[in-house]
Amino acid sequence: MLFNSLDFFIFLPIVFILYWFVTKHNLKAQNILLLVASYFFYACWDYRFLFLLMFSTFLDYFTGLKINEAKTPALKKFWLWLSIFVNLGFLGIFKYYNFFATSLSESLSHLGVHADFWTLKVILPVGISFYTFHGLSYVIDIYKNRIIPVKNYVEYSVFVSFFPLLVAGPIERATHLLPQIQKKREFNYSKAVDGLRQILWGLFKKIVIADNCAEYANKVFLYPADNTGSTLVLGAIFFAFQIYGDFSGYSDIALGTARLFNIDLLRNFAFPYFSRDIAEFWRRWHISLSSWFRDYVYIPLGGSKGGLGMKIRNTFIIFLLSGFWHGANWTFIAWGALNAIYFLPLLLLRANRNNLEIVAQGRYLPTFREFLNILLTFSLTTFAWIFFRAADMHHAFQYISIIFSSSLFTIPEVNTQTLLLVTVFILIEWFGRENKYAIEDIGLKWPRFIRWVLYYSLTLAIFIFAGKEQPFIYFQF
């Protein structure tokens, strides 16, 4: 059930009405309804993997309780590692086993050893990377005494499976989401209206921006050799907007949907393409994943506190892991490594926290220097996206080699409509960059009639400029 499908637009109002009219006086009933709705939502993808989700939920709930009850540090550690081992084991089997098997087989064949490893022919359970990380953060937080385990199994299950975040995040923390699930929710009018506004903006990003950019990017990436360098550059730029519109659009719909139930999810994007350096970009892109790696991997490894060697090692570990989290392909690892290389100079020069505030805050335009920094950062990230999008390393290098040829200086084949849509999108995002999402407060002080004209314009744009429907990119992770 896609967020941009008719099924979801029937499902959501039904759950909303049941939630606020039938179960509104009873927290337990509210949570049971959310859990049933979430399992139904997940089963629409593939009901067989629902059992995996249920098992993973039970495992973390159970080990969480056991860690808390354990009398000795060794026993605590045992339960922690059991949870980590089983969770990562499932992730490893479904997501990474084939990659390791084929990579090892290829490496051995280079050495003249023929080894044909058995490979799995299964599809990746949707959302496994996300709910595995939910569960892991919960268990680790209990082990570190940051939280106490939840006794109510339904509450914990809703934390893991709440349908807006189940298949593509944001990756929630128990400290943030569980308290909201444990207390009775009352209907909040302004929050619900804000949620609808955020859903509308998310749909616009996905259906108008991402899907239109995808048509151009897919065509260009499919046959790079048939295009000029300049067209490939434009293809990479359109892919940058495709993935941003796709994933941040999804996140907006998820956050907006959760707000309809008076639940706040973690922010996942903060206008990353207006970043002035790579460190700022990573504070603004897929925030819930970056902060997860920071808190559960980077800091435990020593963070940036140690010597030069440790700083470099930790930076590479975190970026490579981040790349690998996206998928079992060398292209994702190369993407992670490239970002580590971009990030390292800032870390070594202690310049990684230079740009903490919003760019050009209180001003209409950035300074020339800010503009150049934004342009440079965008160029670097777009270059890295080539690896992310490519089918394999050969494809990526082929794409890049054509870019850096004489045909770079030719006029690219332009899709004027998509270019225009992206330009309008950048302008709206720029003027709304001080908000949680671009149209959060645009028009709030206008007369209602004009404000509604804005919302109808966006709705009509979704109907008129809808690109060919593409699956959400992050569902595959």
């Binding site: 009018y189 209206v193 065509k219 499919l222 050799a225 084949e413 109808y456 809808a466 060919k468």
Partner: protein, 277 residues
């Protein structure tokens, strides 16, 4: 809560009414024909109903359309070339339309790619947009054979193809192409309607020519294999002998994808169509 639901319902109702009015307007005025997926098919249908003094008629796929667009010679030919997704049934209907508009021609040429276009058995991703929406109408339905009707019935929501809000938008069902494997070269429906085109041409004393566009060099082995396994096609032996003998190969660098040319190449080769014909 009540205020929220009331406002949401009002918003959704208006949000539905505005597009409904807009779509109804587009449908009644037929303005949708210029921007929906498959717009070029409506253009071809329009031309097929018009009177022309030209003596040659060109039917064909998107490659043929490309060649016509960039052609600078006065070829004295009416082009109804649009897209292979209309299938051979669509080409037949355009040809029949053209004759029913009292156009007198001596030659009909079908310019069509050997790898993609003949395979069409009304089983493609774009069949709904390019064939059902423009042709599944009372005017044309009587021309459909049993095979065509059986194939159409396999397409989900095929009956909805003529609904105003389907026709005037880019909506189509999630139809996964699958049965293209039915033939590696000429689908049953393509063969049936090629024979119908031939028959219609003979009735009107019109010569039928089936020509290929230039093909990318790297596909030569594929074409050779197609040719050897399709040496004799019942009732169309002569046409396909000429067809395969006329294939010329060009360097892959001139193509933007498997069948289509790069714009730059076509701009510098404005006589390509005349050379093919």
């Amino acid at each position: 809560m009540k205020k929220f639901i009331a406002k949401s319902v009002i918003f959704i109702v208006i949000a539905l009414i505005v597009p409904i009015i807009a779509l109804w307007y587009l449908y009644v005025t037929k303005k949708y024909e210029s921007f929906v997926n498959g717009a070029e098919v409506y253009t071809s249908i329009k031309i097929s109903n018009q009177k022309s003094k030209k003596k040659k008629l060109l039917l064909g796929d998107s490659v043929a359309k490309q060649l016509v667009m960039f052609n600078k010679d006065n070829t004295k030919i009416t082009s109804l070339a649009c897209n292979q997704a209309i299938s051979m049934v669509g080409h037949y209907l355009l040809f029949k339309n053209y004759l029913e508009a009292n156009n007198k021609i001596d030659t009909v040429i079908i310019l069509i790619n050997p790898i993609v276009s003949f395979k069409n058995n009304l089983d493609q991703l774009f069949t709904f947009h390019y064939f059902l929406k423009p042709f599944y109408t009372p005017k044309y339905k009587s021309e459909f054979s049993e095979t065509v009707n059986n194939q159409i019935e396999k397409i989900p929501y095929y009956q909805a193809s003529q609904f105003p809000f389907v026709k005037a938008t880019n909506w189509s069902p999630d139809f996964k192409p699958g049965s293209s494997k039915i033939s590696s070269f000429l689908s049953p429906i393509s063969k049936e309607y090629l024979l119908k085109i031939k028959q219609l041409a003979e009735q009107h004393h019109i010569s039928l020519l089936i020509y290929p566009p230039p093909i990318r060099k790297s596909l030569q082995p594929t074409i050779d294999s197609i040719r050897s396994s399709n040496a004799n096609i019942d009732g169309l032996e002569k046409e396909f002998n000429i067809y395969f003998s006329k294939i010329i190969y060009l360097d892959d660098k001139y193509y933007v994808d498997q069948p289509h040319f790069k714009k730059k190449f076509l701009l510098t080769h404005p006589h390509l169509l005349s050379e093919i014909l």
